[in-house]
Symmetry: C2
Subunit: 159 residues, 2 copies
C-alpha cells in the first residue's frame, strides 16, 4: 500500500459518495409506528397474486392521514404498502417474511409525471435495494390511474 | 318546573353520576392510532374460530410498546385485539365489520387476581357494551395462563 499515490490511497479508503438521484423516493423511516390504515390478504388465483400475493398492511404518516381524511394530499404525505408472506396452516393465516415495502411519496412538482406521486419498492427488509427505480410510470402509475378520482390512492381509511 | 323544589330541579338538570366499577377496564380511546403490533386471520376449523374467527390486529400504546420490547410491562400498558370479519371473495380476504375490541389493561395491583391484567371486550363498535365484565378469570385469563413466561401475553412484536 505504501507505494500507492496518496490520491489513489484516499480513494481506496474513503467511502465513495455517489450523487443521489434527487427524484429517488426515500426509504420511509420508522413507518412501522405510523397509523395502520387497513389490511388485506391476496391469495393464489387473484389477478395481482404474482405482484402482491401475501398479507399487506397500509401505513400512513401524519401528512397522509390528512389526505385520507380530507381527500387533499399535501406534499410530504407518504403511504407504505407493507407486504409480508401469508403463511396458511392449521386453519389460520399468519405473517411471514417481508416481501417488499411499497411506497407512495407525495410531491406534486417532483412527481408531476406520475400524478404527483413518487413510487418505489424496497425489497424485503432492505432499505436500499429498489424494485421500481425509474420505472414508476409503467410499473405503478399505470394501475393507479384507475383511481384518479381519489388522487390515485386505492385504499380507504378503515375506522 | 317552577313548582319543583330546588334540589329535585338540580337532580333533573344534572347528568347523573353513576359510580363506576373501579375495576372496570376502560375503553381504549384512540387505539387506532397506536402502534400496529401484528395481525392474523383465524379461519373456520380453527379451535378458536367461534371466539375469534376473522382477521385481527393487535395495537399497543406507548407503555405496552415498552413491554413488547423489554418484557417488563408497566402499569398503564394497554394491548388491543381488534377483531374484524374476514370476507373471502375473488381469491382475496378483506376486512369487514368489527366484531369485538378486546383489551388487556395492565395494573399489577388492581388486577392481581388475573396476573396483573384486566381483560375486557367491547362488542362491535360499542364503547360501552361489555362482553367480559366480571368473567375475566374464566373467559380470558384461563387461556392466557399458558403464556405465563411472557407475562401472559401471546403476541410478539413483528419487525
Amino acid at each position: 500500500m505504501r507505494h500507492l499515490p496518496a490520491l489513489v490511497l484516499a480513494l481506496l479508503t474513503t467511502t465513495p459518495v455517489i450523487a443521489a438521484d434527487p427524484a429517488a423516493v426515500p426509504y420511509p423511516q420508522a413507518y412501522r409506528s405510523w397509523h395502520h390504515v387497513k389490511s388485506m390478504v391476496i391469495n393464489p388465483g387473484h389477478g395481482l397474486y404474482d405482484a402482491f400475493g401475501g398479507i399487506h398492511h397500509l401505513y400512513a404518516n401524519a401528512a397522509a392521514m390528512k389526505g385520507y381524511k380530507s381527500g387533499a394530499w399535501p406534499d410530504g404525505a407518504v403511504i407504505v404498502f407493507d407486504l409480508l408472506e401469508a403463511r396458511s396452516a392449521d386453519n389460520a393465516i399468519t405473517e411471514g417474511a417481508r416481501k417488499v415495502v411499497g411506497v407512495m411519496h407525495r410531491d406534486a412538482k417532483k412527481y408531476a409525471a406520475t400524478g404527483g406521486w413518487g413510487y418505489e419498492g424496497f425489497k424485503g427488509d432492505s432499505r436500499s435495494e429498489r424494485a421500481v427505480g425509474a420505472n414508476a410510470a409503467a410499473a405503478c402509475h399505470t394501475c393507479h390511474v384507475a383511481q384518479k378520482d381519489s388522487a390515485f390512492v386505492f385504499s380507504k381509511l378503515r375506522p
